[in-house]
């Protein structure tokens, strides 16, 4: 149902994803409310805000990953290439194929490095040269030199930073259009974190990236656009301010944003 042809001309839209008045619920608890944001094509958009403000819920809504959570439901419209992801008949499996995701904790499969990367292409009926695709994906993830001699070793045996880059390689092997990253560096040391950030800067030539981060420096360093969220008295998260990263960090319009980015929050 998600049809590639409809949005054949990417230049026609500046935004890949657009959220219109989105609210997310867990049972009777509203986790985020009335979100109106847009994600620009081939840019890095950072979602920042205090713990519990619904950043993860929101990013996991963008590829319907949160459908897996019992009692979760979303209201409003989540447009991907101007098609509503929550419209009846839209298959979340097809959505996730085009909107990939990298998780907070590296979660390689307990398989070889090669099989980790080949997993996505295999389940999606890839017919080309798998060896080439695996090498290409690992090179794109800046991991090839580290693992080219141990493609048959377990992906679990790599270091944390390498595992996360393996997960990125695995994601780009199915050639999604958007890569969602849910705090991808929170379990990594500073050096691995920097490697991932450099990788993101490299990947945005081909992909649209959305990253949730608790690390203010990371948002400032690595992103083009920043969305600042916080939560109200009802504990529902909402967007305070959305803008160029430089503007958000140097000249925020809202006091809440200024307090948060300058570390005076709470």
């Amino acid at each position: 149902m998600i049809d590639r042809e409809i949005a054949a001309d990417p230049a026609e839209f500046g935004d890949v994803i657009e959220l219109q008045d989105v609210s997310c619920w867990y049972g009777s608890f509203r986790a985020v409310r009335n979100i109106d944001i847009s994600i620009a094509r081939q840019r890095i958009t950072a979602l920042i805000g205090p713990s519990g403000c619904g950043k993860s819920t929101l990013i996991r809504t963008m590829n319907r990953m949160n459908d897996l959570v019992p009692s979760y439901r979303a209201e409003g419209r989540v447009l991907f290439e101007s098609q509503d992801l929550f419209a009846p008949g839209v298959d979340p499996v097809a959505v996730r194929r085009r909107v990939g995701m990298v998780f907070q904790k590296p979660n390689p499969f307990p398989k070889s490095v090669y099989d980790n990367v080949a997993f996505g292409p295999r389940i999606n009926g890839f017919k080309g040269n798998m060896d080439e695709l695996v090498e290409h994906s690992l090179r794109r993830a800046a991991l090839w030199d580290d693992v080219k001699d141990k493609l048959n070793q377990s992906g679990m045996a790599l270091s944390g930073g390498q595992q996360q880059r393996l997960c990125i390689a695995r994601t780009i092997a199915v050639e999604p259009e958007v890569i969602l990253m849910d705090e991808p560096c929170s379990a990594l040391d500073p050096r691995s974190t920097l490697q991932i950030e450099e990788l993101m800067a490299e990947l945005k030539r081909d992909y649209t990236i959305v990253i949730v981060t608790h690390n203010m420096q990371q948002a400032a360093r690595a992103s083009d656009t920043t969305i600042f969220m916080t939560m109200g008295d009802d504990r529902a998260g909402y967007v305070v301010e959305e803008g160029d990263t430089i503007q958000i960090f140097t000249n925020p319009k809202h006091r809440l944003t200024e307090d948060y980015v300058s570390g005076r929050f709470g």
Binding site: R98, F109, I123
Partner: protein, 298 residues
């Protein structure tokens, strides 16, 4: 950070390092004693059985049929009976048990009905085997008119161990981290692809362990089979779907209750044969396990 800091309480620690270390050593000793006791009992049992069995264990015993004279008695019909039952039980319970577990763990929503079902299956695993014998007699032998055959026995034993297989498989599936499922989904996997290529291979070792234990139980059962018509004296190789049969535990039971010392001896020899058969079946399960998790490298 905060301007207000409560008064620091007066520190009074009594580290008692020696005492804590002693407690640790004590616990270590208790664990060692437990495993020692276990091993000792097992070894004593095995040695005793093997010593009694040794004079009787020969090719003639393995290839012969039961006889009223111990020296000429053999175990072949019972061995074949147990083997046939083992194969049928394995072929039935493996797919049905695992499929039921996959449904309950991966497909069914976490509803009250689901939890009720799982609780009931756990309870079924604790029902005495003789009850399954009564069920097998009423259902398979009589209602479905299978008569007292290998097939009826295998079906009865399958019912007996299915709950164990299902519960063990559910536990193994639940032990696979949710992050593995999300990882597969994030690459565009359908639910079945996620289950078959990610969760099931990762859970395979645990599932196979459950099946091995359940099979061992099925093969060792005598009580329900007595009820559904296994014989103690069968001198021909059993046909799975018709005619009389016996199995090793029943053969052992039959011989062990005879007063003559020689029958005690061949009874011990039969026990050794059961142990051997169990090893063979576990070996088969091990091969399946290795094949299923061929690509799994934690």
């Amino acid at each position: 950070m905060s301007a207000f800091s409560p008064a620091r309480p007066v520190a009074r620690f009594e580290p008692a390092v020696m005492r804590r270390k002693f407690t640790g050593t004590l616990f270590y000793g208790a664990c060692l004693a437990a495993i020692g006791l276990l091993l000792l009992t097992l070894v004593a049992l095995l040695v005793d059985v093997f010593v009694r069995a040794a004079p009787w264990l020969d090719v003639g015993f393995l290839t012969g049929v039961p006889s009223s004279r111990p020296a000429r008695a053999g175990i072949l019909p019972a061995m074949v009976g147990t083997f046939e039952i083992g194969i049928i039980v394995g072929v039935l319970t493996f797919p049905i048990g695992v499929a039921a577990a996959i449904y309950l763990a991966e497909y069914a929503s976490d509803s009250r009905l689901n939890r009720l079902l799982q609780t009931n299956i756990s309870n079924l695993a604790g029902v005495p085997s003789i009850i399954y014998g009564i069920l097998g007699l009423a259902l398979f032998v009589r209602a479905l008119a299978m008569g007292p055959t290998i097939l009826a026995a295998a079906l009865t034993l399958s019912l007996l161990i299915l709950p164990v297989v299902i519960i063990a498989s559910i536990e193994a599936l639940k032990a696979v981290p949710q992050a593995q499922r999300e990882g597969a989904y994030a690459l565009g996997a359908s639910r079945w692809q996620m289950v078959s290529r990610s969760v099931l291979p990762a859970a395979a070792p645990g599932i196979m362990t459950g099946i091995i234990l359940a099979m061992a139980r099925a093969i060792g059962e005598a009580a329900p089979l007595i009820l559904i018509g296994a014989f103690t004296f069968v001198t021909f190789l059993p046909n799975p779907i018709s005619g009389q049969y016996t199995v090793l535990p029943i053969q052992i039971y039959g011989w062990a209750q005879r007063p003559q010392a020689d029958f005690q001896g061949i009874s011990a020899a039969a026990i050794v044969v059961v142990l051997g058969l169990m090893l063979v079946l576990n070996g088969l399960a091990l091969i399946v396990r290795v094949r299923l998790s061929r690509h799994i490298q934690w």
